[in-house]
Each structure stands twice: as structure tokens, then as C-alpha cells.
């Protein structure tokens, strides 16, 4: 456990280290069951991002950046967008139309009201969740970096390196 200079008190750090896993699991649940229960990629992605935001407030920015660097987050963002487009293009290739639900129509009709059903919709949910979560985490991280360097210096564009 990191203690000392950055972040909040020991109480906040301990509680958030327990709670972060629950929030992350809840986000994954919301994403995966998006086609059966309320939720889906948008809400689940934001919940995944908020678990990292909680860590950032409790432990400080450096700890989170060591866990999930800025470059990796932006790569995850791009991977989410690419997966979503890939699902659409596969629908074009196999189903005959852009965004056709080819898995449900041709290969895997499945039983309704099960976890594995609805064809490409769970795949799209996962892609959207990855994209939304990574991009919102990037926004919060960027704003935090900006506030950090602006608080110290009078002229923000100078004096850096």
C-alpha cells in the first residue's frame, strides 16, 4: 500500500481499495447484461471509468498513471472504436448490409432471454463500453494534469522543461 505524500488519508485509501473492485465488477455486469436488463455499453463504460476516477482521487494521479498509462488508455479508446466498426463491416460482409445482425440471423439464432443471445448486440455493447470508458477516463486524466501544472506557475506555457 502506498502511503505518504500523494492522495488522501489512510481511511479513504483503504476503503477505496475495497470498493474499486466492486465498482469494476458492477460495470462489467452492466456491460455484459445490457441486452437483457437496463444498462448497456454507455452506462457500463462510464461506471468502469468512474472506478479509475475514484482511485485517482484516493491515491493521486501518479498511482493511476502507473496502472493505466495515458498511451494505453488512448489505445483502448481506439480499439473500442475499431471493434465497433469491425462488427458493422462484418455485418456488411456476411449479412448483406452495414450493421446487419448476421450472427442472429444466420448462424446463432439462440434462445431469447439468455446471456448468449441476440447475435452481435453483446459484442457491440462490449466495444461501446470499452470506448466510452477509456475516453471518459482520458478526459478526467487530462483535466487533472492541466489543473496540476496550472496551479503552480503563473505563466503556464513557460517554465516547463
Amino acid at each position: 500500500m502506498i502511503d505518504g505524500m500523494k492522495g488522501m488519508t489512510v481511511i479513504v485509501k483503504t476503503i477505496s481499495s475495497w470498493v474499486k473492485l466492486l465498482i469494476f465488477l458492477f460495470g462489467i455486469y452492466i456491460v455484459l447484461f445490457g441486452h437483457l436488463t437496463p444498462g448497456g455499453g454507455f452506462a457500463g463504460g462510464i461506471i468502469l471509468a468512474s472506478s479509475y476516477v475514484l482511485l485517482m482521487f484516493a491515491y493521486g494521479r501518479e498511482f493511476v498513471e502507473a496502472n493505466l498509462p495515458l498511451g494505453l488508455a488512448s489505445k483502448l479508446d481506439s480499439v473500442g472504436a475499431f471493434l465497433f466498426a469491425l462488427v458493422a463491416i462484418l455485418g456488411f460482409a456476411f449479412g448483406g448490409a452495414f450493421f446487419a445482425n448476421f450472427l442472429y440471423q444466420n448462424y446463432l439464432p439462440g434462445e431469447s432471454l439468455r446471456l448468449i443471445s441476440a447475435g452481435t448486440i453483446p459484442l457491440s455493447n462490449i466495444a461501446i463500453g470499452l470506448k466510452v470508458g477509456a475516453s471518459l477516463f482520458l478526459i478526467i486524466l487530462t483535466l487533472s494534469i492541466c489543473c496540476h501544472y496550472e496551479a503552480g506557475s503563473e505563466e503556464p506555457n513557460d517554465d516547463e522543461e
Binding site: G40, D77, I145
Partner: protein, 179 residues
């Protein structure tokens, strides 16, 4: 129905306080209360998807807004208003108000959904054939990811662009100084 009126009045009171208070931090907190009450209202209007999304978006939005306002010295705006600007804004608000009042007369009464008045509305097809054609039990998900997935693609593009813009604005060094 009474609960909807109570929540709506609460939202309006919170909005008035958020607009009129001098302290920026209080205004931001009032906006947060509007969002949370709005999420409660979505729940009473039978929209659980939107209630979940609104409540988590509100948390992150409140964090972003407080980041912007905290530890800034609160600038009090002196009131030397220009005559032309005041007249233009009053005229604009009056025009939009009158047009909105005209539109409000044409709406059906609250509680009769508009898609039931229209024959062959798209929503009827979504409700009756959504499970057979997509296999998703949540009709809202089947609409955003199957029937109207182009919408979601556009949304992803807009989100990507806004993040690109934010990180370009907040970049530490400008490119000009590097080169």
C-alpha cells in the same frame, strides 16, 4: 402523477438558484442536484436505462465542473450592461417564449404517448417485432445497436472528436514552441 409535479418544481427551484447565486461552487452543486432529481424523474417515467446513465454521467460531470471552479478566485461580475445586448436578449427570449406557447397548444395531453396516435409508427414495430428480429429483450438496446446503429456510430465519432479537442486545447506545450 403528483410525484412528477413535485420533482419538476424542485428542478425549477434548483435551476433558479443555480442561475442567480453569486458563488460559483454553489451554482455547480445546484446543477448536480438538478441532474440527480432528473434521474429520479426518468425512473418514474419508466426509463430505467436513462436513469442509470444519467446518474453516472452526473457524477462525472459534477467532478469535471468542480475541477473547473474550485480554487479559482471567484470573479464577481460588475454590472455595466450594454443597452443593445439587453434589448436583443429580451427580444430573443420573448420570441422563443411565444413560439413555444404556440407549440404547447398543439401537443396531446400528458399520458397519451404520441406514437399511439400515428398509424404505422416505427415504435410499434420495435415493440412488437424487436424480440423476434434482434433477439434482445431490452428494446432500447435493440434500437440503439441494431435498428438505429448508425446513430451510435455517429455518437462514437462525436465523443472521439470532443476528446481530441479537449486534449488538444489542454496540451502542455504548443507545437509552435517545439519547432
Amino acid at each position: 402523477m403528483l410525484i412528477l409535479y413535485v420533482l419538476m418544481l424542485f428542478m425549477i427551484i434548483a435551476a433558479v438558484i443555480a442561475v442567480e447565486t453569486r458563488n460559483l461552487l454553489s451554482a455547480v452543486i445546484c446543477v448536480g442536484s438538478i441532474g440527480f432529481v432528473g434521474s429520479l424523474m426518468f425512473l418514474f417515467l419508466c426509463a430505467p436505462d436513462i436513469a442509470i446513465t444519467q446518474i453516472v454521467v452526473e457524477v462525472l460531470g459534477l467532478i469535471i465542473l468542480i475541477r473547473a471552479t474550485i480554487s479559482r478566485d471567484l470573479t464577481f461580475i460588475s454590472g455595466d450592461k450594454e443597452f443593445f445586448g439587453v434589448v436583443v436578449s429580451i427580444v430573443l427570449i420573448a420570441v422563443i417564449f411565444l413560439a413555444g406557447m404556440k407549440v404547447l397548444d398543439t401537443l396531446p395531453a400528458f399520458g397519451t404517448a404520441i406514437f399511439t396516435q400515428v398509424p404505422d409508427a416505427a415504435s410499434q414495430v420495435y415493440l412488437s417485432e424487436g424480440l423476434q428480429r434482434t433477439g434482445a429483450a431490452n428494446i432500447v438496446t435493440s434500437v440503439i445497436l441494431d435498428f438505429r446503429a448508425y446513430d451510435t456510430l455517429g455518437e462514437a465519432t462525436v465523443l472521439f472528436t470532443s476528446i481530441l479537442g479537449a486534449s488538444a486545447i489542454l496540451r502542455k506545450k504548443s507545437r509552435r514552441r517545439l519547432g
